[in-house]
Symmetry: C2
């Protein structure tokens, strides 16, 4: 095949790609590919496409995916015909045109998750409450391990997981990353036997990203949001990738976003433990954050996560929500609720320590403690992310928190149980009488939870605060039914008597007949109180 033939073939393939009109649901991924043999670095080829649907216009970057293949991915955000035209520094890729038809979402497709007030909702308005977990190296180790993690997640009840794009050091001695985001030029050993990695900072490894795509797609099929951690401090000099310049890192961000921005389930977490990344300043994080927002036409959820009780400037408009590592706010629901008030944004405690048996104190919460913390946070109106660090000292098994694999703990089932209870409620939880009543949560008009936490008490005197968050206050004469929920045993027991609200007496209402709810002698009880229509 001579050059002329090659050019004809390329033009033909482009024309075919451009002519085909795809039909897909809104929020699903449209993809078109082009073949072109670049003269220089194929990652240097500029390629973008502008998609137009009436007054709506979205421009996305294309990306090089290896094997002379360029791709443009797009997520239609509204129904109707979207027409596109490409722009490229390469003539063969320039001014290519085509169209697609976006249809109404169906089934489990509710669109992209966005913030809604102090909570989250899918694009169609369906409430989304993140009950997340953590698998830092989800897409890094051997395929078998990755598949096991996905299988575990499919059975877990979690609807979000956090994981890293850049390689994380491997606590499991037999596992190391199969491929890397950047192209590895050479791997040698120095005189001390230490691995030396030489990178091509101007080229990415499509193999790595193809696997990443696949994992994101698998999570999407499971209804799990992929909270992608873009940087982290777990390089520790092994690969030196965290020490690349902002310029190289922004190129990486743009490449990543061009690839995976069209998946509706991705979130951007600028960093895990940003303050522990010694190669970046706070100003660098702001630069990188702005680069992410600039490169993302869809405005996926975006935050940054610090070390224990290290809070970034989350009021920056670039951050859609607050993503913190801190136990303090989940010691009580009141402390959780304060954070909502401060930031006027949704709050996620994306680490409060991990359930586990490791000697480090951040990795040895009991199942009860993890459940208790998650419950406190959720009832205070914030969200709390789970993670697990169990290790068998003899068998050197995978640690779910980092390596993936199987869940061994006890809290994950309780968190799924809590999720089911919260999703049944008419609204997301908030404290009914903030900073005054530490145990009563409201989910709407006549819909309450009372969190008894670690207290074991034989009875609870029926009472509710006059204040009821955003919602109508309790009225005298309203009848309520009570369920006793045991969060640890995962049981729900309907109480056999109804209660009837009095007039307000000193900021609270009581039962007209002064009755108690008799309780089992158990901790982790949650009372659900609902008015009888």
């Amino acid at each position: 095949m001579n050059l002329r033939h090659l050019i004809l073939l390329l033009m033909l393939s482009v024309a075919v790609a451009a002519r085909a009109q795809a039909t897909l649901e809104c929020w699903d991924r449209f993809e078109v590919s082009f073949t072109h043999a670049a003269k220089g670095n194929p990652f240097d080829v500029e390629l973008s496409a502008t998609f137009t649907n009436g007054a709506q216009q979205i421009t996305v970057r294309g990306f090089y995916d290896g094997d002379d293949t360029y791709r443009i991915r797009f997520m239609p955000t509204a129904e109707g015909e979207w027409r596109y035209t490409t722009r490229s520094s390469v003539r063969a890729l320039n001014r290519q045109q085509g169209s697609l038809v976006a249809t109404a979402p169906t089934g489990d497709n509710h669109g992209m998750v966005q913030t809604k007030g102090l909570g989250f909702a899918y694009a169609d308005g369906t409430r989304y409450m993140p009950f997340g977990t953590t698998n830092y190296a989800l897409a890094q180790f051997r395929p078998k391990t990755q598949e096991k993690t996905i299988e575990t997640l499919s059975k877990s009840g979690f609807n979000k997981t956090r994981f890293c794009i850049l390689p994380k050091d491997f606590p499991c001695p037999e596992e190391e990353p199969m491929s890397y985001p950047f192209l590895l030029k050479s791997r040698t050993k120095d005189a001390d036997g230490k691995d030396c990695f030489e990178w091509d900072t101007e080229r990415f490894d499509p193999v790595y990203f193809q696997n990443l795509d696949h994992r994101i797609e698998q999570l999407l099929a499971l209804g799990i949001e992929a909270d992608l951690i873009l940087f982290h401090p777990y390089d520790r000099g092994m690969w030196g990738i965290d020490a690349f310049s902002n310029e190289v890192h922004i190129r990486y961000l743009e490449y990543l976003i061009a690839r995976v921005g069209a998946y509706r389930n991705v979130w951007w977490s600028l960093a895990n433990e940003w303050d522990l990344v010694k190669t970046k300043t706070k100003e660098d994080w702001k630069i990188l954050t702005r680069a992410v927002v600039a490169a993302d036409p869809y405005r996926h959820l975006c935050s940054i996560h610090g070390g224990t009780a290290v809070y970034f400037d989350y009021w920056m408009p670039e951050y859609t929500h607050v993503s913190i590592q801190d136990e303090g706010p989940v010691f009580t629901s009141t402390a959780s609720a304060t954070l909502r008030q401060i930031y006027h944004k949704p709050i996620i405690c994306d680490e409060i320590g991990y359930e586990g048996n490791i000697k480090e104190r951040w990795a040895r919460l009991s199942g009860q403690q993890m459940t208790y913390f998650v419950t406190n946070g959720v009832l205070g109106g914030i969200y709390v992310t789970h993670g697990e660090c169990y290790r068998d000292p003899v068998e050197q098994e995978f640690i779910y928190w980092s390596d993936g694999g199987e869940l061994k703990g006890e809290s994950w089932k309780r968190i799924a149980f809590l999720r089911s209870i919260m999703e049944e409620a008419p609204n997301a939880p908030m404290m009914a009488d903030i900073s005054r009543d530490e145990v009563t949560t409201t989910c709407g008009d006549g819909y309450y939870f009372v969190n008894l936490g670690k207290n074991i008490q034989s009875a609870w005197r029926f009472n509710l605060p006059r204040s009821n968050g955003y919602y109508p206050r309790p009225k005298a004469g309203t009848k309520y039914k009570v369920d006793i929920i045991n969060l640890w045993e995962m049981t729900i027991q309907e109480y056999p008597h109804l209660f009837e609200a009095t007039e307000v007496i000193d900021y609270r209402v009581y039962d007209k007949h002064h009755r108690d709810v008799r309780l089992p002698d158990a901790p982790y009880l949650l009372l659900r109180i609902r008015k009888v229509e």
Copy 2:
């Protein structure tokens, strides 16, 4: 005296004022006055002066003080000769020149309080820890009441008080404001017997402000910071002053700042309970805040205060510190500490409810509860403001919180005691091991407090966290002495034995001999632990 004579006389008086060279300490108030009979509204006369000392230059507004008298006040911020030149829309007041010599501060003059990290310090670096109280109408009611309040403050141990400039409705039926910031044109009664006030929104009442000056000066002499509340929601339609336009309000702010900005002890609190002022939006508060900062060449401390758990955008650079109404953050020292981490600014809970006996829940804290909340906050690294609401239902006495008068409660003495303990410490308090250890506070290398709060326990096993805030960690072999402080009884008892730190065992050090501190069976104990050099 004809016009020519009058002009000559005025020029002479100006010349005399301009020639005299005052000598005063830095941070004291310099004042120069001019006489001029304005043709129109004397408050419309534009007057300012620029003070220059080498490269330093400060421009201040002058103000009209009644009786054809204009004044310029200035606070020298550095030693040396300051020369000034006036500018005015009135020829006789324009281009007047003079100078003053600022000498080093002496005695209790440490300069203006400013923020320093997450705390406060005077200009000379001396640490300032606000232990404030609240007297909303301090400068409003009868002189006898005002004098009684000042006398009470002089004996109280408080070093800050919050009070309102605009009139506050009067719970005490026999007291009402003697004068008002704006000029009262008429006061009549409507058909229902309700008072109707007609204001001249373009004129202020110098009599009101002269009294305000006097009260600020009295507080200054007592070493008490005057946290001036510029707006509030306690007009309730009585005077309609809170409903004036932003334009009128900015004129009021500029007048006030021209008058009292040269007092080193003033702070600006844009509002008390800003969210309850129904005549202003959040955007209005930002406009008014920026007006305050623009008018204040000294950059006095500046914040804004909301209703319970209503948090403003305190990250705005205009706010030097966070001033909140919320009990939640003082339920525990950990919750207090979280706020410092979030805002990266000093935090003052400028209302956590009041000690008192009123039926409203915000006004009926016990003395113990108030003491407990203040202690939790201070040990968590924030500051907490006191207030009192006792009323004798028969005698209808003044309520200290609003009307002023005498202190009747029990917490104020304990707060003074706590202040003396904290001022003795080498640094302001912070949690030693944030979000992990809820009771241990550090004030430096080998200087700790352990807050036992409401717990009554027979012994405390000597132990300290490995982490020690900003300070060096405890070292094995270091010897410590322990004082048992009873915050309620206001006693300090030195424990007869020394303790010797072990190596770190699982994040903590213990006593080498496994000894306890035997405790009295009392609540509100605070252990002070200091290394023996």
